[in-house]
Symmetry: C2
Subunit: 172 residues, 2 copies
Amino acid sequence: MTVPNPTTASRPLPPTASPLFLREDEIRRGIELLYFGYSSMIRGADAILDREGFGRAHHRALYFIARRPGLPVGDLLRLLAITKQSLGRVLTELQSRSLVEQAIGTTDRRQRLLRLTPAGTALEASLFAELETGMASAYGEAGQSAVTGFWSVLIGLIPAQDRALVESLRQG
Amino acid sequence: MTVPNPTTASRPLPPTASPLFLREDEIRRGIELLYFGYSSMIRGADAILDREGFGRAHHRALYFIARRPGLPVGDLLRLLAITKQSLGRVLTELQSRSLVEQAIGTTDRRQRLLRLTPAGTALEASLFAELETGMASAYGEAGQSAVTGFWSVLIGLIPAQDRALVESLRQG
DNA sequence: GATTTGGGACAGTCATGTTGACATATCTTG
DNA sequence: CAAGATATGTCAACATGACTGTCCCAAATC
């Protein structure tokens, strides 16, 4: 723990409480806004998913395959941080609905490279549009420098050894 | 929809694609960092929850009761945005483990006002410490102005009619 | 007195995660 | 080339935390 231990409730208001108290409130505010912001962002896509008979797990798979066409199964597994069995069920469903297809890896023939079919691309685009609506208006309200701060705090939340994985998604 | 519809993949690189393309990448970066940042933040508490035989639903209930001692069940329901039945099970478990207790409402005797027992306070404090570790170091790395931006983008993600609920948690 | 509201409880279902074991194809290395 | 490591898929069994729908009681409000 890099910080002294502030207990939560009924602190008896010591004379010098103010900075520590404010800090805890700032931490709690971050926790809460992150929780509600995240929940709000994904809520928009849920109606589409329901209509299609899918859940959030399907959405996450579609999202990352859209983002990185040709993604091997193992990479997707590491991104989602779930077990092979959980992912397997989701991928089987997406493939049986012809939203995702596989190709044998070129350099490593053990790999199955995932990509969206045209139907999958269309569904992912409609899901993305839902998220985008909220995110774009939040960016617009907050302004560019706020967006930079938003990113940098979130990056700081990700353990150092996981950051490369996230950065690997970036545009290129 | 407040924005034109940018489709995701295989856009045939029109001459003026660059600004739109960059914007989509910025939106996707926000989506991804929010997903990974949120996941990273809560992952720390999971080990404690496992050890106690609880799940994230219990954590969320403990968190909000700690944050607003004397919270009525209905308010907690609105914060968590789950059904009464789902919350009921969680509260029953927390009460049977003597972490949460109820009192009859003073102004409205139908209400059940929730608060943590000393044991509940201790557990919540240990869970909070896990979240705090990550959040405090992310704040420290990013700096105060980034934190402000972080908050303001997240607030922008929350639908206007829900913001009052979130703000009602603030310190006071 | 009638209706609404706050809370609780029942049964049943579903989505999504888990563990552990095992199979197959392919790549890498001694 | 043989042996081991890796990428993937698949099975059974299970846990959690959501859901819907229905019903109930007590207290507040009209």
